[in-house]
Amino acid sequence: MSYARGRIALFVAVVALFAGVAVARRAPAGDRQQPLPMSHKRHIAKDMKCRACHQGVEGEAMAGFPTLADCMDCHKTAQGREPAEPEVRALAARSQELAWVRLNRLAGHVYFSHAAHVTMASMKCEECHRDMKAVDQAPSQPDVHGEMSECVACHRSKHASLDCLACHK
C-alpha cells in the first residue's frame, strides 16, 4: 500500500526534524579564539590563585577577566619563557585593551553571582568549571552548560533559596 510507505516517510521526517532540533540546540558552538595563548596551567603552576586574575570571583557577581594592567603587574618584567609575554607588552605599548572572549554566557534573564556561590556557599571553582590545572591554552569552549534543572537540583540538595527571584532578573 503506497499510503503506508508515505506515512512511514512522514513519520521519519518528523522524527528527523525533532532530532535535528535537539542536536542543534545542544551542539557545542565552534571554537572561539582568545586574544592571547594564555596558559592556565603555567599560571597555576606558579601557585597563582583564581582570584588573582578573576578578581571579582569572591566579592562580585562576575568573576571578570584581567585587564591589561593586571597582566602588566607581573609581566612588566620577564617571567620565564611565556610565549604570550611579548604580545602583552606590545599591546600595553600601544595602550590597547585585551579583548577576552566570554565563553560562558547565561541567558539574559538569569542572574548568577560568583560571590554568592564562592564566598557565601564556599563552593570550589571545580564544582562548576573544568579543572584548569591541565589546560595549557586559552579556553575556546564554554565549560558550563547552565540548565535551569541543574541549578534547581543543586539548590534543592544544598537547601539554598528556591525563590525564582534568587536567580531571575
Binding site: R26, A115, H159, C164, L165
Partner: protein, 271 residues
C-alpha cells in the same frame, strides 16, 4: 584528550536529555518532591522578611524623580509620542491623577498585596509571591494573556505592546542587573528586588547584618526621593522604620474593600 571528554560528555547529556524527556522524568521528580519537603526547615535558617513601602503623601512634592529613577533602574523603555498617545507608556511608578480641585500627589507603584489577585489568575505561574512578599513576575514564563492586568484592582501592570525601543537603540545605558522585557509579556514593579539581593549579598560577603538604615532607601524610587517620602523596609521587623510608620494613625491602604491587603502603605496628608 579534553575535547573528546567534552564531546562524550555532551553526547551523554544529549542522550540523557532525550531519555529523560521520553520517560517523562517521572522518577527524578518524585525524588525532588521528597527533597522539597525538607525545605521549610532550611528556610527558617534566615528569617523571612515582609518587604513593604511607606509613601508619605504629606511629604511628596510630586517632582517625578521616583518615576525616572524607576525607569532608569529597571530598563523601562520610553514609549515615544505615538505609543504614548495610545496610552501605552510604561511607568512602574506612576502618579494617580488627582481628583478635580485637589493636589493629591499619589505616587503609585505595585501594591505588593499580601493577597495578590494577579497571582491567583496567572495560568502559568509567571507571577508569584516571593517568600519575602514581593509580587514578582518572571518574564520568561509569561505568555502574555494579560489576565493579571485584568485582575489587578490598582492597574499596576504593564504589557509590552511592541518591542522596547531605546533612543538610538543604544543599550549602553541599560542596567545589567535587570533583564529588558521583550514584546508580549507583562511587566511590573519588582520592589527593585535586584537591589535587595545585591545588598543582602554584600552584607553576607562582608559578614555584616543588613540593617534597617541600609534598607530604608534601597529601591530606586526611595533612593531618589528628594523629600524622603518613600521608605522601604521589613514590615515584620518591629524596629524598622516602615513598621513604625505603618502604625501611624495617618496610615491608609488603597482600596481596602478589594481585600488585597497591600504592603504599600500611604500616610495621609495633613494635620
Amino acid at each position: 584528550m579534553k575535547r573528546d571528554d567534552d564531546a562524550r560528555d555532551s553526547r551523554r547529556k544529549l542522550l540523557a536529555g532525550l531519555a529523560a524527556s521520553a520517560a517523562g522524568a517521572m522518577v527524578g521528580y518524585s525524588g525532588a518532591a521528597v527533597a522539597k519537603s525538607a525545605e521549610p526547615a532550611a528556610a527558617s535558617k534566615g528569617r523571612s522578611r515582609k518587604w513593604g513601602l511607606v509613601i508619605d503623601l504629606d511629604r511628596c512634592a510630586r517632582c517625578g524623580g521616583c518615576v525616572v529613577a524607576c525607569q532608569q533602574e529597571n530598563n523601562v523603555a520610553p514609549a515615544g509620542p505615538e505609543a504614548a498617545a495610545r496610552t501605552r507608556p510604561i511607568h512602574w511608578m506612576d502618579f494617580l491623577p488627582p481628583a478635580p480641585g485637589s493636589f493629591a500627589a499619589t505616587p503609585i507603584p505595585c501594591m505588593h498585596c499580601e493577597d495578590p489577585p494577579c497571582v491567583k489568575v496567572c495560568p502559568v505561574g509567571a507571577t508569584y509571591q516571593s517568600p519575602d512578599g514581593i509580587t514578582a513576575q518572571i518574564w520568561e514564563r509569561c505568555i502574555g494573556c494579560r489576565y493579571c492586568m485584568i485582575a489587578c484592582p490598582y492597574a499596576r501592570r504593564y504589557f509590552n505592546w511592541s518591542d522596547p525601543h531605546w533612543p538610538g537603540d543604544d543599550p549602553s545605558s541599560l542596567n545589567p542587573d535587570v533583564a529588558p522585557r521583550p514584546r508580549g509579556v507583562v511587566e511590573k514593579c519588582t520592589l527593585c528586588h535586584h537591589r535587595i539581593r545585591a545588598a543582602s549579598e554584600r552584607a553576607r560577603v562582608d559578614e555584616e547584618p543588613l540593617t534597617d538604615e541600609a534598607l530604608r532607601r534601597l529601591p530606586a524610587c526611595a533612593q531618589s526621593c528628594p523629600t524622603q517620602a518613600i521608605t522601604f523596609g521589613d514590615l515584620d521587623d518591629p524596629t524598622s522604620e516602615v513598621a513604625h510608620l505603618a502604625a501611624s494613625p495617618r496610615a491608609v491602604r488603597l482600596l481596602p474593600e478589594a481585600g488585597t491587603r497591600p504592603k504599600v502603605i500611604y500616610l495621609r496628608e495633613g494635620k
